[in-house]
Symmetry: C2
Subunit: 266 residues, 2 copies
């Protein structure tokens, strides 16, 4: 099949294969140069950027649809995905009504087209390895690239609000789930792990308290090697114990191992 | 309009007024006799209990639809509602396929009826004053009543899983939002507040740590009166400072005032 034909079929009769009235949007966080990055796509004709999103096939679990969408945009399989909020305001696409976009994609998207119907959108966030992502535009977009979290443009639809809520959820996740496996290289120093936490929380943390808390969680392995930086500084290298990490991810850190972030504060 | 006509119109052409493929389900928690209760409805013909649920009008914000649904089931307006998860498995209604229920409500619900279509369901939980609720069945249900959380029957659809996840979310909420205003009478003692927390967390908490933490949150007012219990026990009465409580509810307890529940443990 020719991609353009696929697009036209999707616009004309995609509702036969996908659920109407429901969509997915993904806030993909990457970590690079001590900054949080967010993956955005630029729409061919609407003249703006949005989060990567998708539709749910009628025969597909919703979570699988989110995985598929992200694999298509990033090239990565089995991404750590977390559903964080579902957006259902009637005016959520008001700043870019698809129904006003006629004939832009070789097939009219008029107000009666299924793609112009109101959707309730389920928001997921993902934590991915920045370096492994191969940003790939979809049918409707001409570009797909990383943006600094602090320098996002005004986004189409309600997507700025989605990013804000996803960040809020990610910060909350720090308290009850391990974080870092997909955001850091395989081995890392304690200052590097702390920089990740500080970047997500957007504030400094106390070094000694942070180290104590992190080691108490039981999923960090200290390696024998150290990183050679200078004559006097040779910080230990760590890696995540995959088994313990996965266990904590599935079960949560639990109330017994709860990590109050206030204890980190300097 | 006669209710039966409304029901038949809803079954026949409700999709003109409501969004297909999306539904809402509500886990309504009440607190009574030191037990958490959950509001359930019994379906007229499917032969089982489920959570109260509803549909979103095409012209209505999703959150408003949840408020409307709950007002219809409980008689209470402006309920504290929290969205906690959206359920999108293809098999989520497999244990009670509505499409197999023909002609039961005076109007056939066959496999082609819009009500038999797959839905993605957005889960909300609510905390309500047990004594103020007037449980009211809907069109499809013959009963609506409270059940003990620990004695729930097997529920239709994926609703047992919904209750489990709602409880998980409610427990998490204890850490970052105030709780209790709609679950306790206007004035209460510290042991009564502690009992609420213990019931939600399902484990005992240390009395002194609990009191210290609670008073530190800044939204409890101690009254001059005490409750007279016996010759020697006259615990202070408290009430919530509405302004501070609402502020904390909107802003979250924040990382600065974070309440680690581990500190409560006995």
């Amino acid at each position: 099949m020719h991609p353009e034909n696929d697009l036209q079929a999707f616009i004309r009769e995609g509702y036969l294969h996908f659920l109407p009235h429901v969509s997915l949007d993904c806030v993909v966080f990457g970590f690079h140069d001590n900054q949080l990055k967010v993956l955005l796509v630029k729409w061919k004709k609407l003249g703006g950027w949005s989060l990567p999103g998708g539709r749910i096939k009628r025969t597909e679990h919703m979570d699988d649809a989110a995985q598929r969408t992200l694999e298509e945009r990033t090239g990565i399989r089995e991404i750590f995905l977390q559903q964080f909020h579902t957006f259902g305001r009637t005016d959520r696409t008001q700043n870019a009504p698809l129904g006003d976009v006629a004939d832009l994609f070789g097939e009219p998207i008029g107000p009666d087209n299924w793609l112009a119907d109101r959707t309730v959108s389920v928001g997921y966030y993902a934590l991915v390895e920045f370096s492994k992502v191969n940003p790939t535009p979809d049918f409707f977009s001409e570009a797909c690239r990383w943006w600094d979290l602090h320098e996002l443009p005004p986004l189409l639809f309600d997507h700025n609000q989605m990013v804000t809520q996803a960040l809020h959820a990610l910060r909350a996740q720090l308290h009850y789930q391990p974080i870092g496996y997909t955001l850091l290289p395989e081995t890392f120093t304690m200052p590097e792990l702390q920089a990740l936490y500080e970047t997500i929380l957007d504030r400094p943390l106390d070094r000694r308290n942070f180290q104590k808390r992190m080691l108490g969680l039981g999923y960090l392995q200290r390696l024998d090697e150290r990183r050679t930086i200078g004559a006097h500084k040779s910080p230990y290298l760590y890696r995540f114990d995959r088994f313990q990490y996965e266990k904590a991810l599935q079960e949560g850190l639990g109330f017994g191992q709860y990590v109050p972030m206030t204890s980190f504060a300097g």
